[in-house]
């Protein structure tokens, strides 16, 4: 370990002894890191951003719509709960109209009873004896003329009074139900379900989840149930992944190859200027392996310095332009690549330096 430290210290001293060449190598590798981050990194950032959007619950949802005679009931929630790969499931009754309880003839909004066995996004209702509790979306509250989405509503068909306890903020995948007045239902009671919304754990699981849920719907006539999935999103995600990944890979490979060649040329030039230095080292007892290690360490030190500067510079640029940052593993991979490039660039010059014969470098004619 002490010898390794001594060799790294010697490599650092050698790098500092040739400030111009060292700066050029560090700059080339720094530019490589910046170029990769600002091109491929940007593409990866965009890819991840698009993928996050495509992976949202909206694109992972499977919607089952059951007709009045389909006989789908809330027991389906228990059967669905036994299926793996499902994030959550929500069942809704058929739509009924609701209006403000205190004046007739106003705007009407849709009302649905909601059942779930998963964590409910409705707040715990207050205890109001003999009244059903409902929650209005913001728009529904406005349409009903309720102040702060609280007050009294009435179901038009049945005349049932509803105490609107507050506002409900629907999850993204249920936004299409707005404006709505939601009534909390008891999932243990078997009641007719009109709409069943299932969210799969990942976009790739959507087809399997769809098929599995169809198998447990428990309806006599499956043709009475229509199924909607977001398979187009899945196809789009696959396309985005493959196109952007392929673009990033090609670009990164091109930049790496160019940088390796440039850095190797600079290091090779530096080695040719230090032939006597390597001849002297060999004569004084440096083995070929040690000469190779010294040059490799020197190159990797410069790669680390240049790579870090290039990375921080490009992240600053991404910040300035408001572009998404690539994730930490990508950045760590870039730093690792800067080391690999430095090492590769040093191989040829190091082998050349190690083969220098002391007599041809030190002998005075």
């Amino acid at each position: 370990m002490r010898q390794l430290r001594a060799e790294i210290r010697e490599s650092w001293s050698s790098a500092m002894a040739m400030p111009l060449t060292s700066a050029m190598v560090a700059i080339v590798i720094g530019c490589m890191c910046a170029a990769v981050i600002l091109t491929s990194g940007r593409a990866v950032g965009a890819q991840e951003s698009v993928s996050r959007t495509l992976d949202s619950p909206s694109s992972r949802s499977v919607v089952f719509r059951a007709g009045p005679d389909a006989a789908l009931d809330t027991d389906v929630l228990k059967r669905v709960a036994a299926i793996d790969g499902i994030t959550r499931s929500d069942a809704f009754s058929a739509v009924v109209d609701a209006e403000n309880a205190h004046f007739s003839g106003g705007e009407r909004v849709s009302a649905r009873v909601h059942w779930t066995l998963d964590e409910d996004w409705l707040t715990e209702p207050p205890e109001v004896p003999n009244h059903r509790i409902g929650y209005a979306s913001v728009h529904a509250g406005e349409l009903l003329g309720l102040s702060a989405s609280a007050g009294e509503a009435r179901l038009v068909a049945s005349g049932d009074q509803i105490t609107v306890a507050g506002t409900v903020v629907l999850p993204d995948h249920l936004q299409s139900l707005q404006p709505i007045l939601i009534l909390r239902g008891d999932p243990t009671a078997a009641e007719a379900v009109s709409l069943l919304v299932i969210v799969a754990d990942s976009p790739a699981l959507v087809p399997a989840v769809r098929d599995a849920v169809v198998g447990v719907l428990g309806v006599a006539d499956p043709t009475k149930v229509t199924v909607e999935t977001s398979e187009k999103f899945i196809q789009l995600r696959t396309l985005v992944d493959s196109q952007l990944s392929s673009f990033s890979r090609s670009l990164t490979f091109g930049i790496l190859a160019l940088t390796t060649a440039l850095a190797a040329a600079i290091i090779g030039f530096a080695v040719s200027q230090r032939r006597r230095d390597f001849g002297r080292r060999r004569a004084l007892g440096a083995s070929q392996g040690l000469i190779i290690r010294l040059l490799a360490f020197q190159s990797m030190i410069l790669g680390a310095v240049g790579g870090s500067l290039g990375m921080f510079g490009s992240l600053f640029a991404l910040n300035v332009y408001g572009d998404p940052w690539p994730r930490l593993p990508f950045l760590l991979a870039i730093l690792l690549l800067s080391q690999v490039v430095s090492l590769l660039a040093s191989v040829g010059p190091a082998l050349s330096a190690a083969r220098r014969e002391p007599i041809s470098e030190l002998r005075v004619p």
């Binding site: 001594a6 060799e7 080292r281 060999r282 004084l284 007892g285 083995s287 007599i359």
Partner: protein, 213 residues
């Protein structure tokens, strides 16, 4: 007394040229100073690089402490050069980017030695050779004679068994030459075998033996 270095039937030719050296044999013993002399172009420097394991002979053998060294791997020969040999080159061959002290201490890296314990001996050697400089002085700031004495200090740092010096007094005035010869003699007295390649007719009488080429 056993020889520390032996050249047996040594021959060497550069590619596509006639041999520089043919069937050359010599033994070198601890405690002696040997001068290898001869006109230019007779292969004196080539012989030094052969004896110093920096060139592989075309024929014959170089034995170090009774072991054939010329056929060893590069790493083994480098190890021997770092531990058992001290070299003084014709033009000092100092690293101009490092301090004088760093130059003297350079070979500690190749021997895997700590630098700090060797610093005291390095400064003491520089002092005994009459080189009184700031420790951070650069080779560019010293005269040719001082540079050669720094190179001699570098060669002596590890108390090598064999010191090979190519024209060590070529750049020195008579007073400094005497200082250098005294230091080399001290090394020989401590058991080193000192081999000088020289043109200097003043130097040859101060050596124990002369091997003309």
């Amino acid at each position: 007394m056993n020889e520390v270095l032996r050249a047996a039937n040594l021959g060497f030719a550069y590619p596509n040229t006639k041999p520089v050296l043919e069937d050359w044999t010599a033994d070198f013993y601890p405690g002696e100073i040997v001068a290898i002399t001869g006109p230019s172009g007779r292969g004196k420097s080539t012989l030094m690089y052969l004896l110093g394991l920096m060139l592989k002979p075309s024929s014959g053998r170089v034995m170090v402490n009774g072991v054939e060294a010329s056929t060893l791997s590069d790493a083994r020969r480098a190890h021997l050069r770092a531990h058992d040999f001290g070299f003084v080159f014709q033009d000092a061959a100092l690293d101009s980017t490092r301090s004088v002290l760093d130059n003297v201490l350079e070979s500690t890296l190749y021997r895997g030695e700590k630098r700090n314990p060797a610093k005291h001996r390095a400064l003491s050697l520089l002092d005994s050779l009459g080189v009184s400089l700031r420790a951070d002085a650069r080779p560019g700031e010293v005269s040719g004679g001082q540079a050669q004495r720094i190179a001699i200090a570098r060669a002596m740092l590890a108390r090598p068994k064999i010191i090979l010096a190519d024209e060590p007094t070529g750049n020195l005035d008579p007073v400094t030459t005497a200082v250098v010869v005294n230091v080399l003699r001290e090394q020989a007295a401590e058991g080193a075998s000192v081999i000088l390649v020289t043109h200097d007719p003043e130097l040859v009488p101060q050596c124990d033996r002369e091997l003309p080429l």
